[in-house]
């Protein structure tokens, strides 16, 4: 059985129980305010701290580190490249191994790091504490077409199925003498015989799946109902309005400050 495709971590705190729409609203606020409305470093840093606190409270902070892995490498290279070469560099800050890092470049790199961390942590809060199926259901409740809700949840099921075929196709083609190691051209040539069978079989399956759906009334008109009903809690509404008020206040602050 293929592993379910999700980053969701099972835990029992209020963050997990929150309406996914509130977390989506938080992402919107955490991006709009530090990027567009109040573009200062400390604003971004404040949102980073806020996201970290929520992640800590939800007991998923340890899972953030592997998510940051790839971005972390780029951030290090940003500090090096901008610190050394940024066009506006004037004031030397530090000297390491004969290379001069400039203050302007390092500050710009700091701004970028704060922005990236801000976005990453806000999204991490959503993906680590929300079951994808819950997110899709609440989107459908807020007006997303149920047909598209099906497309999203079906993708979460189809992808692990297709991924599980990868190993057996690799073995099957190797046993027929396909070279999968060696120089670049050899490996490139092996790509088509490997991906071909997965694509063919999964596209042929779509025909059957479409028929199976039709037989079960997928295109039927009429109101769709939900298997699980979820009432929105007082906390959901309080946080939702808090976020909206914060957004309005920050726009007001923008006009006062600038």
């Amino acid at each position: 059985m293929a592993r379910a495709l999700s980053l969701y971590v099972e835990a029992d705190t209020f963050v997990q129980k929150l309406d996914p729409m509130v977390k989506l609203l938080y992402i919107l606020v955490a991006i709009l305010i530090p990027f567009v409305i109040l573009p200062f470093r400390w604003v971004g840093a404040a949102f980073i701290v806020l996201s970290c606190l929520a992640l800590l409270y939800a007991r998923v902070f340890a899972r953030v580190v592997p998510l940051l892995g790839f971005s972390f490498l780029i951030l290090i290279s940003i500090v090096i490249i901008q610190g050394l070469f940024m066009p506006g560099n004037k004031t030397p800050a530090i000297n390491i191994l004969g290379l001069t890092f400039y203050k302007e470049g390092l500050l710009y790199a700091l701004t970028l790091c704060i922005r990236v961390l801000d976005v990453l942590l806000a999204f991490a809060l959503l993906v680590l504490t929300t079951r994808p199926s819950d997110l899709i259901q609440s989107l459908v409740k807020r007006g997303l077409s149920p047909r598209f809700g099906y497309v999203l949840s079906s993708a979460l099921q189809v992808i692990p199925q297709m991924m599980s075929q990868v190993g057996s196709i690799m073995d099957a083609q190797r046993s027929r003498g396909l070279e999968t190691e060696g120089n670049l051209w050899t490996r490139l040539k092996a790509f088509l015989p490997l991906i071909g069978p997965v694509v063919m079989s999964s596209l042929l399956e779509t025909r059957e799946r479409a028929m199976a759906l039709e037989v079960r009334g997928f295109s039927a008109s009429g109101k769709k109902t939900f298997l699980y009903e979820r009432e929105s809690s007082t906390l959901d509404r309080v946080l939702q309005w808090t976020l909206i008020v914060v957004l309005i206040l920050s726009i007001a602050a923008r006009f006062v400050l600038v």
Binding site: F85, V116, A155, V198, V199, T206, E214
Partner: protein, 201 residues
Amino acid sequence: MNKKSMWSFSFSTPVLVLIPVAVGINYVGKLFAQLLKLPLWLDSIGTVIASMLSGPIVGAISGAINNIIYGLTMDPISFVYALTSVAIGLTVGIMAYRGRISNLWRAVVVGLVVALVAAVVSTPLNVIFWGGQTGNVWGDALYAYLIAHGVPVWLSSFLDELVVDLPDKVATVIIAFLIFVSLPKRLVQMYEGEEALEKLD
């Protein structure tokens, strides 16, 4: 044969079922590229096939859903690049509809156009997020060389992205084309807007 309009927003059930599979093909392509240690991503083959089969709108939706699912399950930064995937789906869909992908050489040309479009859309995102870098070693080395020699950030960033995208997108479109031409005819017709399945009753 009267084809459906390129911009139709009415989706038959087979087309809706195609979208998750397109996303799955993207995942599998990426996985095989990693297993074979290829210096390419090859993570948009499914989006390109969906565009060839069902036009720009379905291609764009496949691209967007690909990045949403990838963001939810692998790397949250991928949400941001949904725009690039949408642009790839639209470009291939329009060119395929106009009959621009009829042989291998034309597929190469489409690959070049797709690479150009992808780089144009990705560059502002790269500049906002990464100060213009892409995270690819070769591209970033070029970027560092260019800004150290006084080339403007936007141009350096565009070239950084283009160097990475050109081989990747050309290879992607070629592979998608080779798969597309070997698909059984009845399967292709199912996605061209002929709603045979819905007329069963």
